[in-house]
């Protein structure tokens, strides 16, 4: 399966825009990804091991929060997109 790496994380993933990982659950796939690219771990997870709140994960077009979270299966032809949040506003 393919993981799409967003621009801000590419420096930690060998400058690659995508990485091929064997199929598995989202948790297994991310473990393999951060095993290959250890510097990615801090970008994706906070100190307590949880996914950072601004990191959104999509299996194809579905947010894993509406599927099975980290247990969501990712098949060999699926794509996992890592999407940091985009938000803001003029109010301080």
């Amino acid at each position: 399966m393919k993981i799409l790496i967003p621009t801000p994380l590419r420096p930690y993933a060998g400058k690659q825009a995508s990485v091929e990982i064997p199929a598995g659950s989202v948790d297994e796939v991310l473990r393999e990804l951060t095993s290959r690219y250890p510097d990615l771990r801090q970008q994706l997870f906070s100190d307590d091991g949880k996914l950072r709140r601004f990191v959104n994960l999509y299996v194809n077009d579905e947010d894993i929060r509406y599927l099975q979270n980290e247990n969501t299966p990712v098949g060999p032809n699926d794509t996992l997109s890592i999407i940091p949040s985009v938000a803001g506003g003029c109010l301080n």
Binding site: P8, D63, V86, G89, C90
Partner: protein, 144 residues
């Protein structure tokens, strides 16, 4: 660092802010990164501000929309190089909220001030660092 875009792209992202006034508009900039870190915009994509609870001073782009836009970019050999939004009745300068909610390091955040429905200044800021060490740096906008 510079952010290059055509007059048409610059005009459109400003016009978007005028059309959504008094609410904040938002969108994505697609293009390419140069060797020196400068960015060339090849397309702008308007998005829907999902902050219906406070659209006059907050914006949020649905990540699902970003998944679609990223797919579109890859089909055209483009990347997400930045984002734009407007500040109704506020200056074209990043706010504390803008910085807190910014997570696309190395990308451009373009802000347009819209005063009484008319776009005034448009400025660009590049995000550097992460967490407590992140900051916005002023970035020159080059109109091609």
């Amino acid at each position: 660092m510079t952010l290059s875009l055509t007059k048409s792209q610059w005009t459109d992202l400003r016009k978007h802010g005028e059309e959504t006034f008094p609410h904040e508009c938002c969108g994505v900039l697609l293009g390419k990164f140069e060797e020196d870190g400068s960015k060339v915009v090849q397309a702008t994509v308007r998005c829907t501000n999902q902050r219906s609870d406070s659209p006059h001073n907050r914006y949020f782009i649905d990540p699902k929309e970003l998944v679609r836009i990223q797919r579109q970019a890859r089909e055209h050999d483009q990347e997400i190089v930045g984002f734009y939004h407007s500040h109704p009745q506020h200056p074209a300068r990043w706010s504390k909220t803008d910085l807190e909610e910014a997570h696309w390091t190395s990308c451009s955040y373009v802000i347009t001030s819209v005063m009484d429905g008319t776009a005034t200044d448009t400025n660009s800021f590049e995000l550097a660092g992460m967490d407590d060490n992140k900051s916005f740096h002023n970035e020159e906008i080059k109109i091609l």
